[in-house]
Each structure stands twice: as structure tokens, then as C-alpha cells.
């Protein structure tokens, strides 16, 4: 590609012209430092995660057993009068065992595998059920990795998103979460990693918050363990 070589050559030439070296590094004080409210160390990450998620308008609960997690999902499906739940096709959710009881209650369950038209299924579903690779205590975020069986739109198109996450997966901070993917091998990253921090929202109309703009407005996280 001739264009590419030329393009980069021009840039190389300009960066190395060396006529000017910026020296205005911001060495001045920035942002008043009256006593910081966020301590650098988070004592109880799962508790902090649930707190932050509530502040964002999400719902979280910590349970000790998988049965409790299952009950939570079933109760939610009833409450939302769900007709279709779409879920990630991963072993953790197989184990959760919601498919049969949901079916008994007349809720259709679609697995994220061999779908003819994923747009139709995810678009029609009332609830999307997934796990998350990590959760971040500091911000109440979920870290979702795309991949086979792990649809991106499962966590986006249905109005309700429920994630089941093991407490071991709760990290303290954003840099810690980003650090899990840093380190240099270009091949190592999944094609999609996304941090979801609470329900979808827009403030474009007079800065009044509208919840559930394009993604789910109803977000639930169940921490297990």
C-alpha cells in the first residue's frame, strides 16, 4: 500500500523535525486536595461493589449458594412477567439450573448457540442472563468478555440484564481490572471486553436522567459465595 508508506513517512518527518519540545508538563497543583473520601484501599470489595451498584440505580445481592441465586432469577422472571429469557451458553449458568424451572413456569429460555437470527432473539427477550469475568468494587462495574456462547447483545438488548458473578471475581479498582488485560500480547485479548457500569442512561434532555436509553435500564448482579 503506497498510501500507507507515504502517510507514515510524512508523520515520521514531522515528529522528528524537533523544532519544538513541549515543556508545559502540568507540574502545578491540580484539583484541590481537601480530604479524599475514597480510600485507596477497599476493605470489603463485594460490599463496596453492591453499594456502588445501588448508587448507580442497579440492584445487587450477595448470596451464599447457587440455589439462592436461582431463586433470585426465578423471582425476577415472575416479577417482570418474562416470556423469553436469553442466556449465555456457559457451564456456570448450566449449573445454575434455571432452564427447567423457568420452562415449567412457561418462560421460554433461549441459549446463545446456533441461533439463526440473533437480532430477533436478543431483541425479543425480556431478560438477558450472563456471568461476568470480573466485577469492580470501586465503580460497581461488570467486566464482560465476548466469545463463543457469550453474546454481546444478551447484555444489551433485553430491558433487564442479570449477571451471576462469583465473589472471587470482585476486583478492587479500575486499574486492577485493566491490568488483567495489559501486558502486551496482542493475540491475548478477546475481540470484545466491555465494562458495564450500571443501567444505560442519557442526560441529553436538559440534563434530566433517562434510564434505559438503549441498553438495559434494569440491571441486577448476584454475587455468589
Amino acid at each position: 500500500m503506497a498510501g500507507r508508506t507515504e502517510f507514515l513517512e510524512t508523520i515520521r518527518h514531522r515528529t522528528q523535525a524537533g523544532r519544538y519540545k513541549p515543556t508545559h508538563a502540568p507540574d502545578v497543583a491540580w484539583t484541590p486536595k481537601d480530604e479524599p473520601r475514597e480510600s485507596a484501599w477497599i476493605e470489603d470489595p463485594p460490599a463496596r461493589f453492591l453499594e456502588e451498584l445501588e448508587v448507580l440505580g442497579g440492584h445487587g445481592r450477595r448470596v451464599t449458594t447457587l440455589e439462592e441465586a436461582r431463586e433470585y432469577v426465578l423471582a425476577l422472571a415472575r416479577e417482570r412477567e418474562a416470556k423469553l429469557l436469553v442466556r449465555w451458553d456457559v457451564p456456570e449458568l448450566e449449573e445454575l439450573g434455571v432452564d427447567r424451572p423457568l420452562g415449567d413456569e412457561g418462560v421460554e429460555v433461549a441459549l446463545w448457540r446456533n441461533l439463526e437470527d440473533f437480532r430477533e432473539v436478543a431483541g425479543r427477550a425480556d431478560i438477558g442472563l450472563s456471568t461476568a469475568r470480573w466485577a469492580i468494587a470501586e465503580t460497581g462495574s461488570l467486566v464482560l468478555e465476548g466469545g463463543p456462547g457469550r453474546g454481546r447483545t444478551v447484555t444489551l438488548l433485553p430491558p433487564t440484564h442479570v449477571a451471576v458473578v462469583s465473589v472471587e471475581g470482585v476486583l478492587r479498582t479500575v486499574p486492577e481490572a485493566i491490568g488483567k488485560y495489559a501486558g502486551g500480547e496482542a493475540g491475548g485479548l478477546p475481540a470484545n471486553v466491555s465494562f458495564h457500569t450500571g443501567p444505560s442512561r442519557s442526560g441529553d434532555i436538559e440534563m434530566s436522567i433517562f434510564v434505559g436509553m438503549h441498553g438495559p435500564g434494569d440491571v441486577h448482579v448476584i454475587l455468589v459465595g
Binding site: I11, R150, I178, A191, T197, S202
Partner: protein
């Protein structure tokens, strides 16, 4: 589609020609008009006031914020010094992951690339997530005009941006595109799109938009996004939104096109931990934006959603001219909008007065740099040089100094009119001579009488007009301070 045609504007002009490519009218006239618009002023005040308060609160709560700012500056400095190498690394990594890379010298090349791609794909619906880079090159308008035969339906999916598109308007703020519109106006625009009267409440308006845009998300053949950051080390592109629109634009259509300014690169993935935190806290006062999305190449083997085809367009469009110059720091900008919110000029005029894609202090700096000084010569003067912009900038760009350098350049290139040069010469002579100074005050008070109005002096006639063109002249006091002092005040 009928609904995509711009609604008839009530009082404002068609703003789709206000990218970097189109000429910009003088700031001064627009600014003066805008500053008198009470409705606009209220809207701007509401947004900037809330934004500044939220930003301050959440940044104060981050003890390492000053340290992050320093790191951000250093990372960008390092990036620009080696930009050719990082661009090459970015391109190699995207290609290694199966993506396609195109280097675009200017907006024209971007329009051609996307237009031809749409033709090849037989695309009908293109969804877009808000992108200043595509605003800058007037992508939508040019695709619609230059590729009219494709009959493309191009849909902006950010709520504010969509409303702006429906109204034939363009964003007046990097982060809050329609902060200049009040609810009444928004209700008008959306009611027209709905074909029925919608109630003027956020719930109803938002729900209508969600429903209508959902159809578009699902029907899209191509998704176009900008990039908040690109990571050279991994070939990753970050798209960051609160609504989730970029997430849908990148997940549903089979083809994803990214238009990324070459300055958006960072070298390493770990650098993102500095930038995503600064961007969220400075831009919207959040700890983290709701959807912080990292895309590395097209969908993986076995995935059902996510784009099958990914095109990364690395766009220069005048940026590389700043490399290695005294204006290089203007390229460090991460488009958070914090400098707009604190700027005493922006807060009086709003964004449209700047006449182009980028407004506020960063706009006053980069518009003349990207467009050429001659086509935007008022802008470097649209500042009081108070430095609030620099103070607010999460990357520490010395915006006020860059503005001063631009003014300097104008003087050196003889761009200021003869009148102003003459006036300064006269001012200098008068100040050096006490007798002349005394007389000039008396003469001034006499001369200003016919010009005084509303507590400021009307534009001066003749060559002196160059001075009052760009600033309101405070009237001379009835009695000079010198005389009051003598009288014992």
C-alpha cells in the same frame, strides 16, 4: 425515510455545513448575538453549572487525580514524539486480528472509503455513534450528497445527536450535543419525527427515541463509530458512551467502521486506566462511563454477534501539521469538554458561536490550526486568557498559552488590520507622554458621547472598528480616576 429528513428549522439556519471543511464566519458577531439570547444562556448555564459541580466532586474524591493528570500528559507527549511508530504498530495489530486499516489524509478520503464500502455492501441503513471526527468532516451530509444514488439512511444514535440530526442542527458541545435546546424545542423536533404530539416530559420523549432507534440498530448494515482511544500495543479501539449506543453500533451490524483521528492513540493497554478514569470524571462527573467498550478486531471464531468485518480509518485531516511545532500539545486533547464548561466566554455564547465542530477553548485553538488561521481569525481572541481551561484540562494542555501563541502568529503574519496596528502605536505614544494622556482622556469622553449605549461603547467607525469588532469597549468614566484621587475620592 421521511423521518430522517431534517425538520424545518424555526429560527436557526441549516448547520450541516459547519464542520472543519466549511468556512467559518466571524465569532464576534455570532458571539455577541448569542450572548443576548436569554433562552440559550439559561440552557448553557444549566448544563455547564451542573457539569462543573459534578466534575469537581468526583475529581476531589480521587486522591491520585493530580498524578494521573501528569501521567496523561507524559503519555501523550511520548505518543506524539513517536506517532509514526505507534500508528504502524496499531495498524499491524489490527491487521493481525483480521481487521482492515486505511490511512486517510483528509475527510475526502474518509468519505470515499465509506461511500465505496457502502456501495460494495449494498448497504441501506448505517447507524452511527456520536463522533466528533465525523462531524468535523461532515460525513453524513457528504455521504448523502455524494452517494445520493445509494439512498443511504444514516442514523445518529446518541439521543442528543439524533435530535440534532432531525433538526438539521449540529452539536454545540463535545459531550452535551444539544445542551442549547430546551425541552420545548426538543419536544417539537421529536413530535415531528413521531408524526404525533408528544408530551414534553423526559420519560415520553426518551421512550419514543428508544423505540424508534431500536428499529434502526437492528436493521443496520454498517455501524460507524469514532474512537475515544486506540491502543497501539494491542490494536484495540475504545468507544465510551452512557447510553450504550456505541456498544450496539459495534455489536449488531456485520460491518463496523471506525473513524479515528491519529492523535487518539495511546501506546499501551494499561495507559487506558489513566485515560478512562480522567475522561469519565472530567467529562460527565462519573467514576466510570456506563459502557466502556474495548474492541480488538472483528468478532472471534464462534461468536454470534459483533462485527464480522472491521475497518479502521486512521485520519490525519491536518493534525500531523502540528507535530513537532509549538502547537503540538493541542493534539493531547481527549475531548472531555471540561474546558468548555469552565470557560467564561463559552458560558456566555454557547458552542454555535464558534461556527465549527469544536467549540470552547479547545475549539478556539484547534479550529484555526486545522482550518488555517485566515479562515478562523477571530477564534484565538475568543478568550479572556484567564487560564480556567488549562486548570480544568485533565491532560494539562496549556490552552491559554496556545491561544496567545496563535495571536502572536497573527500579528507576525500581519493578519490584524492596519487600524488596530495604528491604534496600538497611538496608544503606546500616548502612554509615554503624561500631557498627551491627560488630553486624550478629555477628548475621549467627548468623542464617546454619541457612541455610548447600554453601558458599553458602540462599534467604532472607520479603521478603529477593528478594535471594537472583537471586544466591547467599556466607556470612559465621567470623571477620570486621576481627578477623583485629587479630590480625595
Amino acid at each position: 425515510m421521511e423521518t430522517q429528513k431534517p425538520a424545518r428549522r424555526r429560527e436557526t439556519e441549516d448547520r450541516r455545513h459547519e464542520g472543519i471543511v466549511s468556512g467559518v464566519e466571524g465569532f464576534n458577531e455570532r458571539g455577541r448575538k448569542a450572548a443576548r439570547d436569554k433562552e440559550l444562556h439559561d440552557s448553557v448555564e444549566l448544563f455547564t453549572g451542573k457539569a462543573v459541580a459534578a466534575r469537581n466532586a468526583v475529581l476531589h474524591a480521587l486522591p491520585e487525580a493530580p498524578e494521573l493528570r501528569k501521567r496523561a500528559y507524559r503519555i501523550k507527549q511520548e505518543t506524539m514524539a513517536n506517532l509514526d511508530r505507534y500508528l504502524e504498530q496499531m495498524a499491524d495489530n489490527v491487521e493481525a486480528r483480521g481487521g482492515k486499516v486505511f490511512f486517510a489524509e483528509d475527510g475526502e478520503a474518509v468519505v470515499r472509503y465509506i461511500g465505496d464500502l457502502a456501495r460494495r455492501k449494498g448497504a441501506k441503513v448505517v447507524t452511527k455513534s456520536k463522533s466528533m471526527a465525523t462531524e468535523e468532516i461532515e460525513l453524513n451530509r457528504r455521504l448523502e450528497e455524494d452517494y445520493a444514488d445509494l439512498d443511504l439512511e444514516i442514523v445518529e444514535t446518541d439521543l442528543g445527536e439524533w435530535i440534532a440530526q432531525l433538526a438539521g442542527d449540529h452539536p454545540s458541545h463535545i459531550v452535551g450535543p444539544i445542551l442549547h435546546m430546551n425541552r420545548k424545542r426538543i419536544t417539537e423536533v421529536l413530535s415531528q419525527a413521531a408524526g404525533e404530539e408528544l408530551p414534553p416530559d423526559v420519560e415520553a420523549l426518551g421512550s419514543f427515541a428508544r423505540k424508534r432507534l431500536r428499529e434502526k440498530f437492528l436493521a443496520a448494515d454498517i455501524g460507524v463509530t469514532g474512537a475515544n482511544f486506540g491502543v497501539a500495543e494491542t490494536g484495540t479501539v475504545a468507544t465510551i458512551t452512557n447510553e450504550g449506543n456505541a456498544r450496539l453500533v459495534t455489536s449488531v451490524p456485520p460491518v463496523h467502521v471506525i473513524v479515528m483521528g491519529i492523535e487518539k492513540l495511546v501506546p499501551r493497554f494499561e495507559d487506558l486506566s489513566v485515560f478512562v478514569r480522567l475522561l469519565a470524571r472530567s467529562g460527565t462527573g462519573q467514576k466510570l462511563t456506563v459502557y466502556t467498550n474495548f474492541i480488538t478486531g472483528p468478532r472471534d471464531e464462534g461468536e454470534l454477534d459483533g462485527a464480522e468485518e472491521l475497518h479502521l480509518i486512521l485520519m490525519d485531516n491536518g493534525r500531523s501539521k502540528l507535530l513537532g511545532t509549538e502547537f503540538e500539545e493541542a493534539l493531547y486533547c481527549i475531548r472531555c469538554g471540561a474546558c468548555l464548561n469552565v470557560c467564561p466566554v463559552y458560558r456566555q455564547t454557547g458552542g454555535h458561536a464558534y461556527g465549527s465542530t469544536y467549540s470552547g477553548p479547545i475549539g478556539a485553538v484547534i479550529t484555526p490550526l486545522l482550518k488555517g488561521q485566515k479562515d478562523a481569525k477571530d477564534l484565538p481572541h475568543a478568550s479572556s486568557l484567564c487560564g480556567a481551561c488549562w486548570e480544568a484540562c485533565p491532560v494539562g494542555i496549556p490552552l491559554h498559552e496556545l491561544l496567545l501563541k496563535l495571536r502572536n502568529q497573527q500579528v507576525e503574519e500581519g493578519m490584524k488590520g492596519k487600524g488596530e496596528t495604528l491604534a496600538f502605536k497611538g496608544f503606546e505614544n500616548t502612554m509615554k507622554n503624561p500631557a498627551l494622556y491627560k488630553i486624550s482622556g478629555k477628548a475621549g469622553r467627548l468623542v464617546q458621547k454619541p457612541l455610548k449605549k447600554d453601558g458599553s461603547v458602540r462599534p467604532l467607525p472607520g479603521p478603529l472598528g477593528a478594535w471594537t469588532d472583537s471586544r466591547d469597549l467599556p466607556p470612559l468614566a465621567e470623571k477620570p480616576f486621576r481627578d477623583l484621587w485629587k479630590e480625595g475620592i
